[in-house]
Symmetry: none
Subunit: 350 residues, 3 copies
């Protein structure tokens, strides 16, 4: 509830700063959704990223000078507050909330509207970071025109967020590349039982004007794999509940083959955490080796036929590595739960 209010306030501020508020809309179609009619989290992430890319590319080109395209560098942790359905209209509004010398912070809000009843609800709020890359030389990061802040505090808060994410990006960059090994004849509910991977040949529509994969396309594929892992584990209708912060360290070029792999790391009573890796193989053009481009944690819940969350089968742990990853996942789970309770506090005390 509080999230709705926050969101509306942000929107009102946005109105003051004309030209940086945008509202793409789209009706959700059958192919956007699973059999139960719930829109895939990946479809929503892709819309969010497209809105972010448009607003930050526009902003970064607003001063005369070298032309550029804004490339996604990071998405902050994103919660899916309520499922969206086929036939509903998704409203995506984006606003630039902070600019550093070389990066742009964009806040994106997604509302779902049932056009028959007129009912609207917030389904997502996401924060994304973009970096402007020169159209002439894709390895050159350009400078970002500064934005005006309504209050000084807004700038200071933004700077704090900027520093925090910068630190986190450094940490994940150093995290070494784990690999998902295949398992033969896995027992039910083990990690090997549900792990999955897919390959995708990067085509023209996946790419920006630079010829690099849109961050949103990558996230959609990641959600697809994670969703299959979750569904294989619990064999029910599943929906994306949240995505942990994702860092895009390495660009992926048109013509690459990308491998997206997912494995379950943790289960709570009613949720499953899945780790997803994206590896790029620039096999045609270049002598470059296969490399890890992105990794992230997705959380899913299992829904009954009436759309209520139901308990999930517990993950069966077999190795020391799996145990370590389970404990890490539990840590993330408890931390998120604690944060949520803190956010609720003021509201319940009022």
């Amino acid at each position: 509830m509080i999230q709705v209010q926050l969101s509306m306030r942000t929107l009102q501020k946005g109105v003051k700063r004309l030209h940086i508020n945008m509202k793409p809309k789209r009706i959700m179609r059958p192919d956007d959704a699973n059999i139960a009619g719930n829109v895939h989290g990946g479809t929503i992430l892709k819309m969010i990223e497209e809105a972010g890319a448009i607003i930050s590319t526009r902003h970064c080109n607003s001063q005369s000078g070298e032309h550029c395209v804004a490339a996604l560098a990071r998405v902050e942790r994103t919660d899916f507050l309520s499922p969206m359905c086929i036939g509903e209209v998704a409203h995506v509004s984006a606003e630039i909330t902070y600019t550093s010398k070389h990066s742009v912070e964009v806040q994106v809000n997604v509302l779902s509207e049932n056009i028959l009843t007129g009912a609207k609800r917030v389904t997502n709020r996401a924060t994304l970071w973009y970096v402007p890359l020169s159209l002439k030389n894709v390895d050159k990061v350009l400078e970002v025109p500064p934005i005006q802040y309504a209050w000084k505090e807004l700038e200071e808060d933004g700077k704090k967020r900027y520093e925090e994410q910068k630190l986190e990006r450094l940490v994940t960059k150093q995290r070494n590349g784990d690999i998902i090994f295949p398992v033969f004849n896995p027992e039910p509910y083990t990690v090997g039982y549900s792990q999955s991977s897919l390959i995708h040949l990067v085509g023209p529509s996946d790419c920006t004007l630079h010829g690099f994969v849109h961050g949103g396309v990558t996230m959609k594929l990641m959600d697809e794999v994670a969703g299959i892992v979750a569904a294989r584990h619990c064999k029910t209708n599943i929906v994306t509940a949240s995505v942990d912060a994702i860092n895009f360290h390495e660009k992926i070029k048109k013509g690459c083959v990308i491998t997206i792999s997912g494995r379950m790391t943790f289960t709570s009573n009613k949720s499953m955490e899945i780790e997803v890796f994206v590896d790029a193989d620039p096999f045609v053009d270049e002598p470059k080796e296969r490399y890890r481009a992105v990794s992230a944690f997705f959380t899913y819940v299992s829904l009954s036929k009436e759309g209520k969350p139901v308990p999930v089968p517990q993950l069966v742990i077999e190795t020391e590595d799996e145990k370590r990853r389970f404990e890490d996942g539990k840590g993330r789970y408890l931390q998120t739960k604690a944060k949520r309770q803190v956010q609720m506090q003021p509201l319940t005390q009022q």
Copy 2:
């Protein structure tokens, strides 16, 4: 009924002129349709335009000389005679009916076939105008090879249609660019209550060999927005009934962001007229400002669960501008109604 007959006669004429008749076919899929299973008018407009682009590009390259691609300049008023459904096969046949020095008139007929029962019915008849643009220099309009007419009258009629549309295109070019402003907390059934807009980043598959957006892609997006406006207003299943003449004055380039906005202008007892604007923002490549690329009027009807047209809530008018637009819409509505009665006359007198 009379429309079907007219259409069949036209087809017969087409048969005489071999090599300029073509028939693309496609099965309608769930993503082509709304929840009630009716294929979106925009999907049909897109198929129509693809057929028109193929036949006129082929014709304009039929003489040796500079290669060109035919670009859509105008679509005449188009009626949707009966809804098409998922699983049906759409038959699209196109025929060149007139050529001026620099433009081609194409008539396109769409038949819907239920392959289970074998039943076929005409769903659309459209007239499109194309202009051949050089592949080497997109600003150069090439000459069109003349076609042969079976009777002299056909050529004379064509010339009359050519002159008429030329005049109309001039008029709309001078129409100044209206803008749709957002409205906060709009009252039910006002213009602000249902107005909508969407943003689309132009990708490679949206474009011709020149790198410009296909007219059909633009029309599909316009229908999507107009459909959302109509559904928000009457909160029932709606279908496209007709589209007024659309002029494509300005090309839209790959990489642009386009904003498509729609607002209701007029309601009759059982129909709604929606005005749609397309604005292009070439935000990366060029110093060019955002510009109005296309505008058009779409008419929708509301259907009951049994698929019968039902009355729609009347539009609540609040401003002088809205009143003027409502009167203009009423004018178009009465004119169309009168024309239809004239067309019916000969039949009722037989």
Copy 3:
């Protein structure tokens, strides 16, 4: 060369039997092609199958009685005679050439037209077998209305083809389900080096009115995997040269996850043979186990930047199984080569 002539003769026969010839057309878009601009073989297979499904569904419903949808049972060996490019128009014509009591043979021809130069060339000829399944009870095969033959010989030839394919289908049904095992740190040019797999969640647009996957959708995904295997092996631009006969023994239902895996089995001097498996996992709805739905052999050639076939790296064989599969592939390769020389004979002797 001879194939072009044969094709044209077939088309002429088709013209005599009106009502069973159809021609869908479509412009090839960037998303249909690889980086070099060559349209994916899978895109062409999908168009072929859609044409076959339409014509045979229509034929099987042409007599009054229970409604049905024609389901793909088999595709005969298909050669890709010349690559199709972005911007060209694909013409697909289909004709029913034989009917048994419960199956329909459809011949599909694909022509590629450069609408700028007007040049047309045959790119494919394919033969497909369909079986009509009742819309009420998908396990019930209905009877096929017989067609009229222009000459008695046409019926006799058709019967021979029918008996042959029936036998072959039985043989492949008994072939037991091989599995592709993953390999760690494979050496360059070994089987493990290039083997690939992808998973796909079956969505509404992949399916027929019955809720089963279109054969064409499956073939497109198979070509996608096989193409990635080929490109990983030779790291150049590759194109589909042919597909061996494919039998569709088991239907795949909406909501399934399908795994498509490919491995290289044989290399000649300038071609690569890839075996592809499709496994379906009906994990949500049913208690059914994962099962092998389809398998097939695809042959690819490697092209230079000028579009000429170039030598491919030879496959490095490591195990007895790989050796056996290589010899089997060599057998298929030599058999095809011999057949082609027999077909050439009459022409050189004329």
